[in-house]
Amino acid sequence: MSTRDALLADLRALRRIWPLLGVSRRRLAVAVAWGTLALSAAVGLAAVSAWLIARASQMPPVLDLTIAVVAVRALGIGRGLFRYLDRLASHDVALRGAAHLRERLYSALAHGRTDAVATLRRGEVLRRWGADVDDVGDLVVRAVVPALVALVVSLVAVGIVGALSPLAGLVLAACLLLAGLGAPLLAARAVRAAELDGAAQRGRVAAQAMTVLDGAAELRVGGRLDPLLGELADAEDALRRTRDRAARPAALAQGVTAAATGLAVVAALAIGAAQLAAGSLAPVELAVVVLTPLAAFEGVGMLAGASVHAVRAADAARRLTDLLDRARRPATGAADPAVGAPAVVAAGLAVGWPGREPLLRGLDLTLAPGRAVAVVGPNGSGKTTLLLTLAGLLPPAAGEVRIGGVPSTALADGAPSVVTMTAEDAHVFDTTILENLRVARGDVTEDEAREVLALAGLGAFLDRLPDGLDTVVGAGGACISGGERRRLLVARALLSPAPLLLLDEPDEHLDPETAERLLQDVLALREAGRGVLLVTHRGAASLAAADDVVDLGAVAAAPGVVPMLERSA
């Protein structure tokens, strides 16, 4: 890709992300206005004080200087004040943009494909969410506002100087153009490759740091901590080298700006001197023509940095749009529409993962209130896949699943009001026990919570907790034991408003007696008018008590109606 194409691609990426920032034009205009006033005040201060000193040296009556004296003070105050307002306004725009973008991002993930972030390491997710969004948001403060301000202020400065000496104004304009256009382009071109590498390396650093953090104990015992920290150090080294590579041209661009300043001042001096000699410029005006440029470059001086930032923001924007694209899914169907009688009926069902052979074919199955079905079968035989399909969360490979009479493919995310699935590795949120239960239903009362926890076999556990229902369970249930976590998941499933429950391995990580009791309690739900389908590797007694046993293995070794199954090769 040529540099020009690359920069155009950057612009496209930024154009695509810009609407997601929801930047209000009015706020942006206000920020630019304050910024312009602040820098104009600085330029004015330079011009007026130059005039003041030069004029004063001619020993005029003091009254001649009064206006300038007042102006100097006012501009001094104005500069600080406007600058404060500018910073407040532009940061406000940037932060609003970032918050807006975060919301859009999360909303896309929440509504989009569930596996959008599956292949991303946690650190990378955090990086996109954090630094990338910040980078895009900062575009306002670090690139857009400075660029607009620089433009206006440059015009002001050229106007002041040009009014006194058109030629000096012209030279100043040329120098400003060099610094304001040449330096940023030079910087953007030179650092682009390094910036992109750097972003990738930064991502790697974040991901690696999170990996170390998440697996600290395991890594340490397994002797893998040092090698991984070594990899992290390598990534940081690579990052440092890249930054060095980027820093040189960026610094050079700064140098161009500084050189342009010097050039403008000295050229003004030379031109002014000539015009002074020719009598077309007054001595006092000479001071203004020479000293104003000193302040005029503050605006364009920021542009080299701004262009580098724009390159970085464009790269972040690409990563974010990539994530948004990944999360996008075709609008399949309605979200939990009103459906008929609560039942899940599978007919001629084949389940499997897209792009793979179906795991099983020709399954007929009905789950209705008052019934309990057990699913057994060896590892990898497709039990979990079957549950996902029955819940409407995975499209059937063939055949049909009707949930409340509606084909599952017509539903966006299954029909949680009819049937909910509790995955074997369902997530426990880093909040209190009560709030974790309320994930199933927002209005769960404390008494309901206690009751259902007791049913799941956590009554004694709860009684021993000093904070009771307000005990925080830690990220992924890290602060409770494996068996406690499992029973919490069962309790949560029981609280869901759906009459039909699909439970994946509710009895793992439990001692046989507790497990058996739990399964019996779950099966007893059918008396209360709920339908239960559960997957288990053990629990012979519960298998006997189930109405149906679906065996996905070769042998069906249980009573009840065993559906005809044809295992795919």
């Binding site: 600058r83 500084a258 034991s481 994946d504 001692d511």
Partner: protein, 559 residues
């Protein structure tokens, strides 16, 4: 926070010291160039305006100005370049030290602080860079150069120097006030950021669950609230920081204006010459420029400082088990009356645990869920310190308290499969081999023993099959065996398996039994935490774990 330059930071991060010194040196040179340029410019311009010289007479000075400004530009560049170099190194060192220490603090500490540390190591510490690249040089400039330029001005015009000097004592006062005002808001903001980050990572990890319960949509509003809270928090920090910055800047600009006016009025009376006046005019802003910039960069630096201080606090946390004694080949490990009190709980789990794991033997820990089996294993691994009792290692005929020995040497002899192993996304080979020095041969051998080989054999891409985080793409039982494979990769004298048959069908469970008995036969000491009757039956020693103040339980030694 009120300390502008944290001595603890300098002590603990070596590279920061050289960065700060190098920056200081460059900054001095930079200002020298600036003073030269200003004086020359004043001379040239002053004489031109007075009409006392023609262009040809001042051309040399003009050239001098050009050269001095070029030198200054080069030095500015170098300063920035150098500072950022040091900065990346400091950030890297800080990140490394924090992660290392956090790993040593053990799972119990980490569980309570994971969110905070995650934000610190992924984005918090990066804010250190503006602190080192922008803020610190400006601070040094204020300390070193402001007085120096003041002296130069004094040689030109004493009264202007005096005017400027009056403002100087205000600087430390302001710095202190700024620090005070920003400290609280910055902390609050960091906390809000951590809350948001942690919450979103948690929600994103749980999206599948939320979706299955039909609750994913409901969380968007909550995230919006949190994002908004973060924005408001940041904004209030900025408001304070900007206000204090503005105060400094205003002070600076005003005193320049006062000097300019003062010089102007004295020019009228002929007290000072034009060249002097111009020199003072050009130099005066430079005296206070660093000060203005300190104000400007203060908010960026405040974040960095808050992050570093938090890291330094973390580094000061005492490590639970931190012995140094050498360790030979361990023959036996035992719990002697071990109690572990989980944080925030009233009853220990386990309580009064006695038991041992011998090389060549199989010990099974069993007991109801929540009795403290996993905690007992963590204590045995030295990842948490028992609240009562000791874990002892027998080496030859020495008996060593685990708290005294070098844990790394102990870990080198143990392989451990936790109850919920952490699995990163990647290909199966990458997941299994991350951080392990083993070849494909060893990998196949380990997979054979764990029973994962048959899973791989059934996959079209074999070991190159990509899986997501938590081995998404594998079934629960397949994932369990993958984790076991990984632990079997390095030879160990002890093997600790936490619920190895969870999620496994009967054939795979039988494979685990085979693995365990074979390992014991090969002289490995095996500890299995399990509920599976077949494993209990194969044990040489069954230890029943109990929580709370239950009656003491003796180890029943079978066969």
């Amino acid at each position: 926070m009120a300390k502008p330059l944290d001595p603890a930071l300098l002590r603990s991060v070596r590279s920061a010291r050289s960065t700060v010194l190098a920056t200081a040196a460059l900054v001095v040179a930079q200002t020298a160039a600036l003073v030269v340029a200003a004086l020359l410019l004043a001379r040239a311009l002053g004489r031109l305006v007075e009409g006392s010289a023609a262009w040809s007479e001042v051309a040399g000075e003009a050239l001098g100005v050009l050269v001095a400004l070029a030198v200054r530009a080069a030095l500015t560049t170098a300063t920035e370049w150098r500072a950022h170099r040091g900065a990346t190194r400091v950030v890297a060192e800080m990140r490394d030290a924090t992660l290392r220490h956090v790993a040593r603090l053990g799972p119990r500490w980490l569980e309570a602080h994971r969110a905070e540390v995650a934000t610190l190591v992924t984005r918090g510490l990066d804010a250190l860079e503006p602190y080192l690249v922008r803020y610190l040089p400006q601070l040094l400039q204020t300390a070193l150069l402001t007085p120096a330029i003041l002296v130069v001005i004094a040689t030109q015009d004493l009264l202007s120097a005096a005017t400027l000097a009056i403002t100087l004592p205000l600087i430390p006062v302001f710095m202190w006030l700024i620090g005070l005002a920003t400290e609280r808001t910055t902390r609050r903001r960091l906390a809000a950021q951590q809350r948001l980050d942690a919450r979103v990572l948690d929600l994103v990890a749980g999206l599948g669950t939320l979706r299955a319960l039909g609750r994913a949509r409901g969380t968007v509003a909550r995230v919006r609230e949190l994002a908004d809270a973060e924005r408001r928090g940041t904004m209030s920090t900025l408001r304070v920081a900007f206000l204090s910055g503005a105060a400094l800047e205003l002070l600076a600009t005003l005193s320049v204006a006062v000097v300019a006016v003062g010089v102007g009025l004295r020019l009228v009376t002929g007290e000072v010459g034009l060249v002097t006046g111009l020199a003072v005019l050009v130099l005066a802003p430079e005296v206070l420029a660093p000060l203005r910039h300190v104000g400007t960069h203060f908010h960026a630096s405040a974040d960095g400082v808050a992050a570093v201080e938090r890291c330094l606090d973390i580094l000061r946390e005492p490590v639970p088990v931190a012995g140094t004694a050498d360790l030979g080949p361990v023959e036996e490990v035992e719990w002697d009356g071990v109690d572990v009190l989980p944080p925030g709980r009233t009853l220990p789990a386990p309580a009064g645990l006695h038991g041992r794991v011998r090389r060549g033997g199989i010990t099974v820990l069993r007991g109801p869920s929540g009795a403290g089996k996993t905690s007992a294993a963590l204590a045995l691994l030295g990842l948490l310190a028992p609240d009562a009792g000791v874990v002892r290692l027998r080496v030859g005929d020495r008996r060593l308290d685990l708290r005294d020995v070098d844990l790394a040497a102990w870990h080198a002899q143990v392989a451990w499969v936790p109850q919920h192993p952490v699995l990163e996304p990647g290909t199966l080979r990458e997941v299994a081999l991350a951080g392990v020095d083993a070849d494909d041969e060893a990998l196949r051998g380990a997979a054979e023993r764990s029973g994962f080989a048959e899973v791989v054999a059934a996959l079209p891409l074999g070991w190159d099959t990509p899986v997501g985080g938590r081995a998404r793409g594998l079934s629960a039982g397949q994932r369990q065996r993958l984790a076991t494979t990984r632990a079997l990769l390095s030879p160990a004298r002890f093997l600790v398996l936490d619920e190895p048959t969870a999620h496994l069908d009967s054939a795979s469970s039988a494979q685990v039994l085979r693995l365990v008995t074979e390992a014991a036969r090969d002289g490995v000491g095996v500890l299995v935490l399990t509920h599976a009757p077949e494993l209990v039956a194969a044990a040489d020693e069954v230890v029943t774990v109990a929580a709370g103040a239950a009656e003491p339980l003796a180890a029943e030694v079978l066969a």
